[in-house]
C-alpha cells in the first residue's frame, strides 16, 4: 500500500522557523542570525559591539557551536542571558534548536536576541531560524572570490559586514571590486566595512542596529 506524501523536507524547518518568528514578534523581540565562515570574526564583533548596544537595549544571546562553550566564555563577562546550543558536530543551527532555546529565555525582558550560528557559509543559508535579520560577517582575508562561490549566503543576507578591511591591502585584495561583487549578488542588502577588533570602526553599525531595533520594537 503506497501513500503519496510529496512533502519538501526543508518546509518542516521553515514551518518551525515561522513559529519562532511569531513568538519573537509577539514578545517584541528583534532577532539577528549572525553567520560567517569559521574565524571570520562573529564573536570578536560581539565582544566589541555588544558593550555599546547594551547601553540602550536588553540583549540575550543564543550561542551555537559544534562542541565547545568557548565563544560563550568569551562573552560571559558581559553578563547577558546566554543559551548555549551545541550541535554535536552539526554544521548549522536549525529552527527546532532555536525553538527549544526560546523556552529558556525570558522574552518579556529582551529587546534584541543575537543568535551566533555555527561558522559555515553553506548550510546555515538553507535553515531559517525565525530571525528578523540575517547578518553575515564576511572576512575579506578569505579572498575576494567568495561572494559568487557562496552565492546563497551572500544573496540571502540582509546585512553584510565586510570585516578585517585593514588587512585587505596586505592580502592584495581590491576592496572596492569585492564590494561591487557583493552588491551585484545582493543589490538591496546593507553593507558595512568594519574591523571587528577596532571598536571605532563599529560606530556606524552599532548606531544603525540600535536604531533599527528600537524602531521595530516600538511599532
Amino acid at each position: 500500500m503506497e501513500i503519496k506524501v510529496l512533502k519538501n523536507v526543508m518546509q518542516k524547518n521553515s514551518a518551525i522557523g515561522n513559529d519562532n518568528r511569531d513568538v519573537f514578534h509577539q514578545k517584541g523581540v528583534y532577532t539577528i542570525n549572525l553567520t560567517s565562515s569559521p574565524g571570520a570574526g562573529k564573536t570578536t564583533l560581539l565582544e566589541n559591539s555588544l558593550p555599546e548596544l547594551m547601553k540602550s537595549l536588553n540583549i540575550a544571546i543564543i550561542e551555537g557551536d559544534p562542541y565547545t562553550t568557548r565563544d560563550a566564555e568569551r562573552l560571559a563577562h558581559l553578563n547577558l542571558p546566554t543559551i548555549q546550543v551545541n550541535t554535536e558536530g552539526g554544521c548549522h543551527l536549525d529552527a527546532q534548536m532555536i525553538s527549544q532555546a526560546i523556552g529558556e529565555l525570558d522574552l518579556d525582558n529582551i529587546d534584541l536576541c543575537v543568535i551566533e550560528n555555527v561558522g559555515n557559509l553553506v548550510c546555515p543559508a538553507a535553515f531559517d531560524l525565525g530571525e528578523t535579520l540575517r547578518v553575515m560577517v564576511y572576512s575579506i582575508t578569505e579572498g575576494a572570490d567568495k561572494p559568487k562561490k557562496y552565492y546563497n549566503m551572500f544573496q540571502g543576507s540582509h546585512v553584510i559586514l565586510i570585516n578585517k578591511v585593514e588587512l585587505a591591502e596586505l592580502c592584495n585584495i581590491d576592496l572596492e571590486a569585492t564590494y561591487q561583487e557583493v552588491r551585484e549578488i545582493n543589490p538591496t542588502c546593507k553593507i558595512f566595512q568594519i574591523s571587528a577588533t577596532r571598536p571605532e570602526t563599529l560606530i556606524e553599525w552599532n548606531s544603525w542596529l540600535a536604531h533599527t531595533v528600537k524602531k521595530a520594537i516600538c511599532q
Binding site: V9, M10, G90, F127
Partner: protein, 85 residues
C-alpha cells in the same frame, strides 16, 4: 552534516503520515521514496547514516528500504511511503 537535521525532519514526516491514516498505523513501512534534484544538497549516504540511527528502535520503520529518484524540482522531498499490505 546537515543531513542530521534532515533525517530528523524526515522521521517527523513519516510519523505524521502514519498518524494521519488509521490504515497505516499497524503496518510495517517497506520503503520510503525520496525525490531529489541535482546537484544534490543532501547526500544519500550521509542521510542514511543519521536516519538509520534515528529509526533503530522503532520497529514499524527500522526495516525500511530507502529509495531515491531524481527530480527536476529543486529540493529534497519525501515522495511516497510504501506499507506492508
Amino acid at each position: 552534516m546537515h543531513e542530521a537535521s534532515i533525517a530528523k525532519y524526515v522521521l517527523e514526516i513519516v510519523q505524521e503520515t502514519i498518524d494521519s491514516d488509521p490504515c497505516c498505523q499497524n503496518k510495517l513501512v517497506k520503503s520510503i521514496t525520496f525525490a531529489l534534484s541535482r546537484p544534490y544538497t543532501v547526500y544519500p549516504d550521509s542521510f542514511e547514516f543519521y536516519f538509520t540511527e534515528l529509526i533503530r528502535d522503532i520497529p514499524q520503520i527500522c526495516g525500511t528500504q530507502l529509495i531515491y529518484i531524481d527530480s527536476d524540482q529543486r529540493g529534497f522531498f519525501v515522495s511516497s511511503i510504501d506499507f506492508e499490505d
